[in-house]
Amino acid sequence: MNKLLFASFLLSGAFAFAEVPSTVAIHNAKIVPVSGPVIAKGTVVIRNGLIEAVGDNVPVPPEAWVVDAEGMTVYPGLIDALSTVGIPGAAPAAGAGRGGRGGVAAPAVPVVETAPVQRSWGPEDRPQTTSWLLAADEIQANDRRIETVRGSGITTAVTFPTRGIFAGQGSIIDLASSEKAAELVLVPAVGQYIALGRGGFGGGGGGGFPSSLMGVISYIRQIYLDADHYKLVKEAYARDPRGMQRPEYDRALEGVIASKRILLPANRVVEIDRMLRFAAELRQPMILYGARDAYEPAAANLLKKSNASVLVSLRWPAPPARPPDQEDTDTLRILEERDKAPTAPAVLQQAGVKYALYSDGLDAPREFQRAVKKAIDNGLSREDALRALTLSPAEIYGVADRVGSIEKGKIANLVLTKGDIFDDHTTIVMVFVDGKKYTPAETAPGGRGAATDEPGNPGGIQ
């Protein structure tokens, strides 16, 4: 009887929130809690958006709506450790930059044009800086990407404003469908997103300062020197303002000071080395993102030694599209990079580096799944891949007490699949976010609902 009711609820569509049952029991499922051993057959009870109980011998509460999950597997909801979902006008790819000698070239997808920027004449003009922005304040709850990304089994995203050098602070959000953006927010401020893009002669940023990588680095260095000085002067003024000129309010510095960690881009070994040193010089807790060449032993050693946290982009380098008869002129180094980049997660795992995987704009569920599978095919165990998309990012951002695993008391973010979550022919049957059930659309392009597309056709696009 309960089952029948549930089915009719399904038909009523994903936006019928008012009818969401407060208690759900996923029954007879294989459970992969990540934080503990796999339960071959058990029950997860959800009440009021939280996990009330999990185990092989958990009674189904009489008032619960029951999902008979015989032959299915329950995973914790996936966490995308670096995303732009929900941010208006954001480019889907929050890339650490690829291509170009400097490794800091434009992202794969061009950033949406904004109003003309005032030409900057130096660090004092605070070029390309919106450090005071909070992703939580920018979230658009009706962003269609929320639903798309959720189709991958991603229930939580650490989403960032990504425009400029100091782009602003990221927020952790649950990928629920809601009319109120505030309902999505788990943690409003997790750290400052820094990119090393540059304007330059005729480039962005109004053609002003900084126009080179060294200019960007010197600007960031000056900002932190200024922040230290600003704090000193403000403290002195607060102690005794009499006879002292008041310090001028500087929102760029306020935003930087309010950030408890920074995210810095680094793909090549030299960039990893450079950014680890830079963060140490700035005395800021840091997360590296990109990590394309983290497969190199030198990179893994540096990361291990520095005890840094690393976010590895799932957008593996691929050969450029070229006509079949055109000669391949890429250097041995580039060829090696393309060959070995997907081994980076396995190498980092082996080296004992704290790392997580992130989608880097691979929104389409099929693309995302194949990217994770590629890491698995290149030596990463399924368990480690899952952890790198659940508990590990939760630990890196300090929220492992509420998301990242199936444990009593945690937020009920769950994925129900038929088959191993990262396998090609697995379907994602249901996704629970804050205890609310969603069904991935079967017909969505690149979707992983019941209808599967042919492997080798990325994104299912014809």
Binding site: G202, G207, F209, S218, V233, V270, R277
Partner: protein, 448 residues
């Protein structure tokens, strides 16, 4: 008999032995020992003995160099290789806040190519887009090492200045590069303006220095004042005023060289080197009197208006007037044959071979203030040396081996031998990639 013994020792010596003897070479020391035929002993990265006859240390690796020439590692006083993300911060007229040290790229293949051309040390400069450019750094071409490991320890950092056409171009849209663009023009647009930018920057730097000196004095007295704001732009210029940073000035014309000398002397700093300095022969006495070095080209000119009055005798003429002269590359390709550039000073101006070779070894070492450790083959100096198969000032001479700190970083025979392996690996990866692509794109049906 002795040779057999040596051969046995070579076999026994551990890989990367700390002790190396290069024997039977024609050694051009550029030091007090002059040129001779004999041996050089290297221990722990330093030259420990130089002479016709040396004491053969136990367990040394022998490099037999009969018929070959050994010279000090070549030093390039002006290079732009090994940088990431641009070497010009051209958005502003004073970009002294930026530092090449932050963007060293040890993977730049130009490092390996320079090394294979005998270069062991290079002064990596900011570009010449603005009157006062960025901070510079001296690197050793330790190919395969990290960015930090390439830095020449103990070499004073520098800063790049630029005069003339390059820095004024961005400010002058009329018919210039900026014509027709909507971009805001950047001051200055004239040579007068360039001088003004430099003088004004040092007025600011002096005020900044005074502010910090006053603060430091208070701290020394035991007071606890709030420190002044640290300004990276003025900090670098303060270091110039305190003789902690060398000034390398890009210049061409005689009038601007004189202007620079006056501006520097008025502002209380010193020009370490004039770079390019193609009209230096006209004002050689004044350059020598200021105590500046000159780092020039051999016979490159007329590539722009301000380089029209250049002559190939420039280097020799300046040297004869007492200026410390070197040849530089300013270019990744030219950097690979600085030895033959030096040779041109023998043709134009009649310098002898020691004087000519000095232009790419001991002279740039002196200009960069690193001649205590490199620039010549002398006991106690770093074992940075190049072995050529023929007379090194000839463009027929090929580099056989390059040592830095006593380690062989380039070995021609080994490089050639390894090429086949690299080619095979490249082929393997290309085939693998092609196979993967074909697997992804199912074959078309035959009737299509």
């Amino acid at each position: 008999m002795k040779k057999v013994l040596f051969a046995a020792l070579v076999v026994l010596a551990p890989l990367g032995a700390d002790t190396i003897v290069i024997q039977n070479a024609t050694v051009m020391t550029e030091g007090p020992k002059g040129n001779f035929k004999g041996s050089v002993v290297v221990q722990d990265g330093k030259i420990t003995e130089v002479g016709e006859k040396v004491l053969m240390p136990q367990g040394a690796t022998i490099i037999e160099a009969g018929g070959q020439y050994l010279i000090p590692g070549i030093i390039d006083c002006h290079s732009h290789i090994a940088g990431d993300g641009g070497i010009n911060e051209g958005s502003v007229s004073v970009s002294s806040m930026v530092d090449i040290k932050d963007i060293i790229n040890p993977d730049d293949i130009a490092i390996y190519r320079a090394l294979a051309g005998g270069v062991t040390t290079a002064n990596i400069l900011h570009g010449s887009a603005n009157s006062i450019g960025g901070q510079t750094i001296v690197l050793k071409m330790r190919w395969g090492k990290s960015a930090q490991e390439m830095i020449f320890a103990g070499a004073l950092p520098g800063i790049k200045f630029a005069l003339g056409e390059n820095p004024k171009r961005a400010g002058n849209p009329v018919g210039g590069r900026g014509a027709g663009t909507t971009q805001v023009a950047r001051y200055p647009a004239t040579r007068m303006g360039v001088e003004d930018v430099i003088r004004e920057a040092f007025n600011d730097a002096k005020a900044y220095k005074a502010e910090w000196d006053a603060y430091d004095a208070k701290v020394a007295r035991g007071e606890h004042p709030i420190p002044p704001r640290k300004d990276l732009k003025l900090q670098a210029l303060k270091e110039v005023l305190e003789n902690k940073r060398y000034v390398h000035v890009h210049c061409y014309r005689a009038d601007e060289i004189l202007m620079m000398i006056r501006a520097a002397e008025d502002s209380g700093f010193h020009v370490r080197t004039f770079q390019h300095v193609l009209e230096g022969y006209k004002v050689a006495k004044e350059i020598a009197a200021h105590g500046a070095g000159a780092s020039t080209f051999s016979d490159w000119w007329a590539y722009k208006i301000e380089a029209i009055d250049a002559i190939p005798f420039n280097a020799a003429l300046m040297a004869r007037k007492g200026v410390l002269v070197s040849f530089n590359s300013d270019d990744a390709e030219l950097m690979r044959h600085l030895n033959s550039e030096a040779g041109k000073a023998m043709k134009y101006g009649g310098l002898n071979e020691t004087e000519a070779l000095a232009m790419v070894t001991i002279n740039p070492a002196k200009q960069l203030g690193i001649d205590k450790t490199v620039g010549s083959i002398e006991v106690g100096k770093d074992a940075d040396m190049v072995l050529y198969d023929g007379f090194p000032l000839s463009d027929l001479a090929k580099v056989q081996k390059v040592l830095i700190d006593g380690t062989v970083y380039f070995d021609r025979d080994k490089a050639i031998a390894e090429q086949a392996t690299k080619d095979a690996e490249k082929k393997r990866l290309q085939d693998k990639e092609r196979a993967a692509q074909q697997k992804q794109q199912p074959a078309r049906r035959p009737n299509q």
